[in-house]
């Protein structure tokens, strides 16, 4: 009898070893063509559960691969995102699809899927080589002292996207393709607009992202160092570029998803940034001049006693300026769609491609509607008469002047200064 039990014990012990040492689902790389279940948007922004193929994933545990390196609750050390890789958790269903076991893994899959699509979009729109891959992405980012929840941010110094904890009941920000595209665009703006890197460096933003002081400052546009005070002209440039960065990024989110309310899906209070507007009226296809922004800054400065409140107001003003920019680009896309009788996606991509060409041409010295809209006209491939006329109207609406006219040159129209 003892011999029988010894054999049973030997048998079970061997099985224990075999099972524990067997190949793990966690640590193996998924086979080429493996699919993952993820909430993904359809055209227009309706989300559904889809099986998506994640390309170039090196191991299932960290979900690190060709497109993304994840960090969980990271910090920034020496200008680089630093921290541990998260541990993704899946089951594999009968069809062989990897199904996330929890919400954070679900978010990682969605972020990876969107990032690989955004990389392909970069390539197709002429922005290949602007970013380095894989992108560093922080998930479940915690800001000390609270106040950093329900937000996403691109950090230019670290060249990383930070996705804060999402605590609301709506579509979580890390699975919102529009917001991910928005943040991705910030990296393009940061690298393509001449002087923008230096301009943001002067703001002393993001140097201490994970401190309470920084948390308070995050709602504000900028933080001055004790030895530095911005002039009104500097504030005008900072506000204008911040506004353009946000507005163009909102356009990028719409271009990617087709949803003009993609922000509202996660943050219902942000209705003011909706691009779902009628194609007429002030602010729909107009941009403020530098003088308008300067006057706003001078007037606002007198209204606020506390500098921090003034900067907070300016941040809101910059977002308002950005919304004017995003709506302008959206209505211009719709004009292209009608003018060329193409799909909405094609029209959006034409404007996206033009935007990538426009960014390196933006100059701080004379930033304003004239520079932006004339350069945009030059950046659109084969500008048609209707498109040229629309840009000219937008320019006149923005500046109150009719300085330009549309000239035909070898079947292509161009916006030229009226003689």
């Amino acid at each position: 009898m003892k011999r029988v039990f010894s054999r049973i014990i030997l048998c079970v012990s061997s099985t224990f070893c075999l099972i524990s040492c067997g190949s793990s689902l966690d640590s193996s790389a998924p086979a080429e063509g493996s699919t993952f279940l993820s909430p993904m948007p359809q055209e227009g922004g309706v989300y559904g559960l889809e099986k998506v193929e994640l390309l170039g994933v090196k191991d299932l545990q960290s979900l690190a691969g060709r497109f993304v390196n994840f960090f969980v609750s990271p910090g920034i050390v020496d200008g680089k995102l630093s921290g541990f890789a998260p541990k993704a958790r899946f089951i594999r269903n009968s069809e062989g699809t990897y199904v996330p076991k929890d919400d954070l893994t679900q978010q990682m899959v969605a972020v990876y899927a969107h990032t690989q699509r955004l990389a392909a979009l970069d390539d197709s729109l002429g922005a290949a080589g602007v970013n380095t891959w894989p992108r560093d992405i922080g998930i479940s980012v915690r800001v000390q002292g609270g106040g950093g929840q329900n937000n996403a941010q691109y950090n230019g110094d670290a060249d990383a996207v930070l996705l804060m904890m999402y605590t609301e009941k709506h579509l979580p920000i890390p699975v919102n393709g529009g917001i991910l595209a928005h943040e991705h665009f910030h990296s393009l703006f940061y690298k393509l607009v001449p002087g923008f890197r230096e301009l943001t460096a002067s703001l002393h933003e993001d140097k201490s992202l994970f401190t309470e002081k920084q948390t308070a400052a995050r709602g504000s546009l900028l933080v001055e160092s004790p030895e530095r005070t911005f002039t009104d002209e500097e504030l005008t440039l900072i506000t204008y570029f911040k506004g353009l960065n946000e507005g163009f990024a909102d356009f990028w989110g719409w271009m990617y998803t087709g949803d003009p309310d993609f922000i509202v899906s996660s943050l219902p209070r942000e209705t003011g940034r909706s691009m779902n507007v009628k194609s007429s009226g002030f602010g729909v296809y107009a941009l403020p001049t530098q003088e308008t922004v300067l006057n706003e800054i001078v007037n606002a400065k007198e209204s606020f006693e506390q500098k921090q409140e003034f900067y907070f107001y300016l941040s809101g003003y910059a977002y308002g300026l950005g919304t004017m920019a995003s709506r302008t680009l959206k209505v211009f896309s719709e004009t292209i769609q009608k003018s060329r009788d193409v799909t909405t996606i094609t029209a959006r991509h034409i404007v996206g491609k033009a935007l990538i060409k426009l960014l390196p041409q933006l100059k701080a010295a004379d930033i304003g509607p004239e520079q932006i809209l004339t350069k945009l006209a030059q950046s659109v491939d084969s500008l048609t008469e209707d498109e040229c006329v629309w840009l000219n109207q937008s320019l006149a609406e923005s500046t109150g002047l009719k300085k330009y006219s549309c000239q035909k040159n070898q079947e292509i129209f161009a916006l030229e200064k009226a003689k």
């Binding site: 014990i9 689902l25 279940l37 559960l49 089951i91 929890d102 999402y166 579509l171 979580p172």
Partner: protein
């Protein structure tokens, strides 16, 4: 779910036939005991996606047979893990059935009470189901039944009301292993109370 029930049935049949075999082989120095554990609480420690250790509480039900220093136990346990929010959520349902063989290496027993320290080896199967819910649409995915095994070390105490009935309680620590457990091995602790029926 059907797979787990099938596994439990097979284990119970095997247990009953083993008991019959054991009774027929040798004259019992002590009686064969049927042990029923309707109340069992288990905490197992898994590492979540954020690399934090999380204790999962599961209910644990078991049926056992003990003869002298050897016992055989069939056990079922399950727990649910929820994450996400009202728009997008996941519900992970974990269930397992494991057969445990235990050797009571240090034991003392009188007609009124007894105690023992034991080590155990387990072999069984588990299944995970994930319900993914997005804006009211729910999708159900299953891992299918997979093999798992375990090692255990514990102690038990018995109190006899008479020659036939008694109560018992046990506490044990376990290392559970399977290729895709979230920490491998997964550590757990089990506390349970049960009834004894001497056969």
């Amino acid at each position: 779910m059907r797979g787990i029930f099938l596994l439990v049935s097979v284990m119970f049949s095997f247990m009953c036939s083993s008991a019959a075999f054991a009774q027929g082989l040798e004259a019992p120095a002590e009686k064969l005991e049927l042990q029923v554990f309707p109340i069992g609480s288990e905490v197992r420690y898994e590492q979540n996606t954020s690399l934090e250790w999380v204790g999962r509480n599961s209910w644990n039900y078991a049926l056992g047979l003990q003869k002298v220093a050897w016992s055989f136990l069939v056990e079922y346990s399950s727990f649910t893990e929820n994450s996400g929010n009202a728009t997008l959520s996941t519900e992970r349902k974990f269930q397992e059935a494991v057969a445990w063989g235990q050797w009571h290496f240090l034991r003392s027993q009188t007609e009124q009470w007894g105690y023992s320290f034991f080590g155990g080896l387990g072999l069984g199967g588990y299944q995970e189901e994930v319900l993914t819910s997005l804006s009211g649409t729910v999708r159900n995915d299953s891992s299918g039944v997979k093999w798992m095994s375990g090692l255990a070390l514990g102690a038990e105490v018995k109190v006899y009301l008479n020659k036939t009935f008694g109560f018992m309680g046990s506490l044990e620590g376990r290392a559970l292993t399977a290729p895709d457990f979230d920490s491998n091995p997964t550590w757990s602790g089990v506390l349970r109370l049960g009834l004894i029926l001497s056969l």
